[in-house]
Chain length 453, copies 2
């Protein structure tokens, strides 16, 4: 009996698909690699099914790619030739516990459904990102997802209280803790957060929930540069401690590209060096406006546009979300997710501009991102005559390395960034990662080749 | 040449003490075990010294106990016969970086000095506990310390951005990250947080700092029980999102014992079932008083005492801090640090009262603690005729296990709680902990016998 036959016998024929029955969506993620047909697509319905699938694959030393919402940008969920695909998409459902202010969700639940369940209970999920409608909470935790509200609620890791994980050999680790304090031995759940499915498969997640933010105020602010933006951030955090929810920076080249994409004139004339989208939870609207007025008078900010309705708020967000509309506008886009220590961001931006001037002078180097979190995104629309994408990557990552930054802020490493990882991690750190991989997945069957070699 | 001679040659004679030259303080921690003289006390001055010490001990398969401020309550830093003691006390110093809102501290720096450095820069350290004057930041991180402001800033883990760690063989892992987002491969630092020095030795720590809380309001509140306390918590978190700094519950038996210790009548008459000490950062004093007034009128709280000066605030805190004065008041004290899911706390308290009635009827079972974090402390002053401490422990931990709680909320496992760990962790979880220990400390030289066998 082949492994696929054994999986059909153990899981049931409705839980295993092969050949043309494997949907297009399970053949690639959003990293842009060509589709690959896995040996089979496994669709277990519960933790026991996941355990059975892994136990059989482990016994056969069969490589397995783990799939959530397939919204990843680094090839983590992208099948490689000869892999079996294990999708968590049938493990869905959320239960909120108001007394502990937690929820327990199956890994395949879309993030938006998790957020909705929290909101229906009068509480707030601290994880949010653009792909919320299609990404899954299991994938969010496996990749330690970031997003727009990390400044307030932290990365996915900070929101996780407990996990259920299936180890590569099918052993189930149950750690569905709902308590803020639990120092009963090693907190093994930390290992599985952010290891991109290479050490075990997350099947259930317990999240700590937050009070719903009240009185969200939104504004687009014009600034002389990132130093002024960081001064503004310090002012807002001092004045509205625990209230700053969003602080998204956009440099002038980005605003130009976004304006072209949206077909809009810039929100400020002349175009400032930097625009920041801020959102602050502040029940007293006047207090927020007064504070911005004082900052304007003090010269910290140059101008501001306040949103006075949901429609106006959406118009402010359109600038920040314009990259979702950009990708069709150039033959190829080089895009980056990196982090730079806050004190070095200004210098790194100048270095990126110098790299552009030297190597791809006609393609604007559009920089934006979560500057409070040190996280910069870069979008470069390359034309046919521009250097190959790999050369652009080498130039950008050289700037990141020169400023002691990280080649991945929130997207992870997957396959796409593996070659750049040594720019951000020492040989001793990489050796430790390999030691952990060997200890927890001795046959190397889980997401092989992702993150480390 | 003996190992001690080799260590003296490599580190210098001023960095190694033996025999009577080993201070009393390095022979025990605060767990209450009798003092033990280590083979030698190693006092390296820097990371290279720690690496040299471990490299030599590793080569000789010499067990090493790692010592910070020696304020631990579970025997983690308590030498065992035949161990070499490695103290981090000479690795001291703090540097604050205001732009990234972080600080970098050497492991042996007392927590109070870390807090003072943050405050001097106009920022706030999110780690705070009673032993702040003598515990060290390295020990706080190695044990994932909790404390009184976990409700606002989380456990030590949540405050850590980066670490420098020396592995048992002397390899230095440098991960002094200062960025909120960094998904460049496995976040190996998480492994060393809370593993109580059994996997590696933390030499430096990067902490994320917070805006200084403004307008701290303190009150002692009388409540009908823990359900009312949790309702009050939800009201305060909704009204002052991100502002609730302290929420410390004290049951009536605790208030009675505390009153006897302090020589004071109870703050409320008659004694309520529960008293909670709350602190909220709220620049507008009237808003805080108005909210408490409304909660009084709504019947959520039964009574309240507001602190109107630092002296009044200290009088409120005296109740919560009275356990530091209690230990001399009975021939032996059984004391506990456990956690119980918030929804089960009321039932667990009743079960503990029933255990008292059945087994130690004359010794009050004084329960208090960080109820928002699920963390209960229990102090039981036992008289000579009462059951042996171990029997009391068995009864208390049985209640914890029955309510799916944790045998350690914040103190860790060390030696003292190792036998109780299987009440809170499954065989698969314990096996995983042993796998990690074997992978990262293959010779088993670091803090042997602590946490796991």
């Amino acid at each position: 009996m082949s492994l696929t036959e054994a999986l059909i016998a153990a899981l049931g024929p409705d839980c295993v698909r092969t050949g043309a029955d494997i949907p297009v969506r399970n053949r690639q993620d959003e990293a842009g690699y060509p589709p690959v047909e896995p040996l089979a697509l496994l669709l277990p319905r519960d933790t026991a099914g996941v355990a059975t699938a892994l136990r059989l694959c482990h016994a056969a030393a069969q490589p397995v790619v783990v799939q959530g919402g397939l919204t990843g940008l680094v090839g983590g969920g992208q099948p490689q030739p000869g892999e079996m695909a294990l999708s968590l998409e049938r493990l869905r459902g959320v239960a909120v516990d108001v007394v502990t202010a937690t929820l327990t969700a199956w890994a395949g639940t879309p993030l938006a459904a998790v957020q909705a369940a929290a909101a229906a209970a009068g509480l707030h999920c601290g994880i949010d990102l653009g792909a919320r409608g299609s990404c899954t909470i299991g994938g969010n935790v496996a990749t330690n997802a970031g997003g727009n509200t990390v400044i307030r609620y932290g990365m996915a890791r900070r929101n996780v209280l407990g996990l259920e994980v299936v180890q590569p050999d099918g052993t189930v680790l149950s750690g569905l803790n709902r308590m803020l304090k639990n120092n009963a031995g090693y907190d093994w759940t930390q290992l599985y957060i952010g290891s991109e499915g290479t050490l075990g498969v997350i099947t259930r997640v317990v999240l700590a929930l937050h009070p719903a933010p009240r009185g969200l105020r939104s504004a687009l602010v014009a600034l002389s540069g990132v130093e002024a933006a960081l001064a503004l951030l310090a002012e807002l955090e001092g004045a509205f401690a625990g209230g700053v929810q969003v602080f998204e920076g956009m440099w002038r080249e980005f605003m130009g590209l976004a304006g072209g994409t949206l077909g809009l004139p810039g929100p400020f004339a002349p175009m400032p060096e930097m625009v920041v989208l801020i959102e602050v939870a502040c029940p007293d609207a006047a207090a927020f406006e007064d504070r911005l007025g004082a900052l304007l008078e003090a010269g910290v900010i140059a101008d501001a546009i306040l949103a006075r309705s949901e429609a106006e708020r959406a118009r402010l967000w359109a600038w920040r979300e314009s990259p979702y509309l950009m990708t069709g506008m150039a033959p190829r886009f080089a895009h980056f997710d990196v982090s730079i220590p806050r004190g070095a961001i200004a210098a790194a931006v100048e270095d990126l501009r110098a790299a552009q001037a030297a190597h791809w002078p006609a393609a604007p180097t559009a920089i934006f991102g979560h500057i409070a979190d040190s996280n910069l995104h870069v979008m470069i629309p390359l034309q046919d005559g521009d250097p190959p994408t790999e050369a652009v990557e080498a130039a950008v990552y050289a700037v990141v390395a020169a400023h002691a930054g990280s080649v991945s802020a929130e997207h992870g490493i997957g396959i796409a960034k593996r070659r750049w990882l040594p720019l951000s991690r020492s040989p001793a750190e990489l050796a430790l990662m390999r030691t952990l991989k060997a200890a927890l997945d001795p046959r190397g069957i889980l997401n092989p080749g992702r993150v480390i070699g």
